[in-house]
């Protein structure tokens, strides 16, 4: 639920960036009188292309990080009612979730991993339903704490793959699992390309693939991994 409209947000932001109405109108090729009406919410929010132009002009005039620029653009599009396409909404949710983690000073590398691993439904709960979000480094988490979270139905997502939180993953287990393939006289299986899509999921394709096919399948494998919530 938005507690203020596009016009007010635009005016506040413009003033925060010490940008005059005339300068913004100039940068966006808009009539200053029209822009003033929009800010006072006497005219509806402009169409999408104009909102994008306003966002670009604001970003250009302020010293913002890429994440802050993205956040400003999405906020303007959202408040103007132009964030409606499903893909955009999903993208927006992921970005907002990423911003939330950045606000908690989580390093960018973990933010990337979190956006890949945390299911959209969980992001929605955190961002829209106000569900609490706790972040801890893996080596600070005890097994007792993990058990306690599970017992009350709290979702735990490890951002460190193949580490101590996963015990079924040792080299010996892997060796045992595949020892027969290297130590039998059975005919070999046909050549296959195999793509890791999680700790226990793979995409296997028989025959040779081109490098672009391999690249696409790697991306799909990554998508599967995020669906599996790993």
């Amino acid at each position: 639920m938005k507690n203020r409209g596009f016009g007010h947000y635009l005016r506040d932001t413009r003033k925060k960036f010490s940008l005059s109405l005339r300068k913004l109108a100039n940068l966006t090729d808009l009539d200053p009188a029209y822009l003033s009406r929009v800010e006072r919410e006497m005219s509806p929010a402009p169409r999408r292309e104009i909102v994008a132009k306003i966002a670009d002009a604001l970003c250009q005039c302020a010293e913002l990080s890429p994440a802050e620029k993205g956040r400003l653009r999405r906020e303007l599009l959202d408040l103007s009612g132009h964030l409606s396409n499903e893909d955009e909404l999903i993208d927006d949710l992921s970005h907002r979730f990423a911003d939330r983690l950045r606000d908690m000073n989580i390093p960018e590398s973990y933010v990337l991993e979190a956006v890949k691993k945390v299911p959209l439904d969980e992001m929605r709960k955190v961002m829209l339903d106000g569900e609490p979000l706790k972040v801890k480094m893996a080596d600070e988490v005890t097994h007792e704490e993990l058990d306690a979270c599970s017992s009350v139905g709290e979702e735990v997502i490890a951002l460190q793959p193949e580490d101590s939180l996963t015990s079924h993953n040792s080299p010996s287990d892997y060796i045992k699992q595949h020892y027969g393939e290297f130590n039998s006289d059975k005919p070999q299986v046909k050549p296959r390309e195999r793509f890791r899509a999680g700790l226990s999921a793979y995409i296997e394709v028989e025959g040779k693939l081109s490098s672009s096919q391999q690249e696409q399948l790697r991306s799909i494998a990554m998508l599967i991994r995020s669906i599996l919530e790993e």
Binding site: P66, G70, V115, K116, D163, N169, S172, I175, H178, P191
Partner: protein, 437 residues
């Protein structure tokens, strides 16, 4: 106290100025470097957990097997009492001679006696031998606080028994590398399979070495021990946040994935004191003057000592959009362009030779055809641009025909080393990969 390794990123653009209201191309050289932290003087090296896997098939008869044995003896003498050595040999059968032997005087004696008794026979179950070596390492990992180990495989032949498919070998090596077992391979002579050995080394986050003489074998095996000791970080990932509208093309051979504006580049293992280069071409769309295009980069890696995941502080690298009258083509940094061109050429050669080895001659030639225009544009400001383009065409013509023997194996291994900035451990001047064209 343990040695703390810190990974650093260095960036160099050919030109940080971008003309306003025009599309343009910029090249970027990123170098990842591992440095010791402040506690180096108090360091005690982690014990080494090494498995030597030696081909004893019929073709190894004579000086090759003798050189491999000499090198193995040399390794056993250089390991400390806390280090562990395993020895596996293979022909059509796989033999585990000893596993995780402590290199104390008794262990050393046992290793020497066993090595002396190694004789050639039979065909080549390379995959089985390699996997047995990995099994030795895994057992030690289970029984100690070590969380990693290395398999070093020497072979002069092509696997013709057991698992032989390079893609399968690569997949298994990748899986084991993720679990702490790395693989490096040493090809001997003119008949080893670059596809099989490269697949194991690439998947195993290790190195592929080419050798010819007995001295090469000894130098490379002992040199590889030094490389293992220099390992600073594993599972290294470079994350680049790209400004809106900019497209990056990674010119060096590395696994890359992109989600939205974040590009993730997997670099595998980084050695201390050895810069790992990544060559990139950036396609910049039209921007208004005054814009600043920030590229934010950070690294994650797994610490070799503790196995813990680490990450670097983000580094900002910026391009500035200025009026086009202020941007001159000749202002591009020739040094950076030259390095990018060298890396790109080496990568193309490596890829094309693998295509050639698989018998896909048309695919090998097409790799060059697809980039010829772009490459010419990149090198246009270099004084030797014509020479470079002619060399590229010569390489294209070479890989479009059947090519075998020593020259291809040497060229493939040397081009890969140039691409990754790895040392050639042979103690003689091997020249450049393109000397073999």
């Amino acid at each position: 106290m343990k040695k703390e390794k810190i990974l650093k990123i260095e960036t160099n653009w050919d030109n940080v100025l971008v003309p306003a209201l025009r599309r343009c191309q910029r090249s970027l050289l990123i170098e990842v470097n591992a440095q010791s932290g402040t506690h180096e003087e108090l360091d005690e090296s982690s014990p080494i957990n090494l498995a030597l896997v030696i081909d004893r098939s019929g073709s190894m008869h004579g000086r090759r097997l003798e050189a491999a044995k000499t090198a193995a003896l040399g390794i056993s003498k250089r390991l400390g009492v806390l280090d562990r050595l395993s020895l596996v040999s293979f022909d059509h059968e796989v033999t585990r001679h000893f596993a995780n032997l402590a290199m104390n005087p008794e262990g050393l004696e046992q290793a020497q006696t066993t090595l002396m008794d190694l004789h050639p026979r039979g065909s080549t179950n390379l995959g089985g031998g390699w996997f047995e070596g990995a099994a030795c390492i895994a057992e030690r990992i289970d029984r100690s606080d070590l969380n990693e180990g290395h398999v070093l495989l020497l072979s002069d032949g092509m696997a013709n028994k057991g698992v032989t498919n390079p893609d399968l070998l690569r997949n298994h090596a990748e899986e084991l590398a993720l679990r702490g077992i790395q693989t490096s391979t040493i090809g001997i002579g003119e008949n080893y399979s670059p596809l099989q050995l490269d697949a194991l080394a690439q998947g195993g986050q290790g190195r592929l070495h080419d050798t010819e003489t007995s001295n090469d074998i000894i130098d490379v095996v002992l040199g590889e021990l030094g490389e293992i000791r220099k390992k600073a970080a594993q599972d290294v990932q470079l994350i680049v946040k790209i400004p809106e509208g900019v497209k990056l093309e990674i010119l060096t051979e590395v696994p890359v994935s992109q989600i939205g504006d974040l590009l993730q580049i997997s670099l595998g293992t980084v050695l201390e004191g050895r810069k790992r280069p990544i060559a990139i071409l950036a396609e910049i769309p039209s921007y208004a003057g005054g814009e600043i295009l920030p590229f934010e980069m950070s690294l994650t890696w797994r610490d070799v000592e503790s196995g813990k995941k680490c990450c670097s502080d983000p580094l900002q690298s910026k391009l500035m959009v200025v009026p086009s009258a202020e941007v001159f083509e000749e202002d591009r940094d020739i040094g950076v362009v030259g390095q990018i061109a060298d890396l790109w050429e080496a990568t193309l050669a490596y890829r094309a030779m693998l295509f050639n080895e698989r018998g896909n001659l048309e695919g090998a030639s097409n790799l060059y055809q697809e980039i010829l225009f772009k490459f010419s544009k990149l090198v246009s400001i270099l004084p030797d641009s014509n020479f470079r383009i002619q060399r590229l065409e010569r390489a294209q013509s070479k890989v479009a025909r059947h090519w075998s023997g020593r020259s291809k194996r040497e060229a493939l291994a040397i081009s890969k080393k140039q691409m990754l900035n790895e040392l050639d451990l042979r103690k003689r001047d091997m020249g450049k990969w393109h000397d073999r064209l």
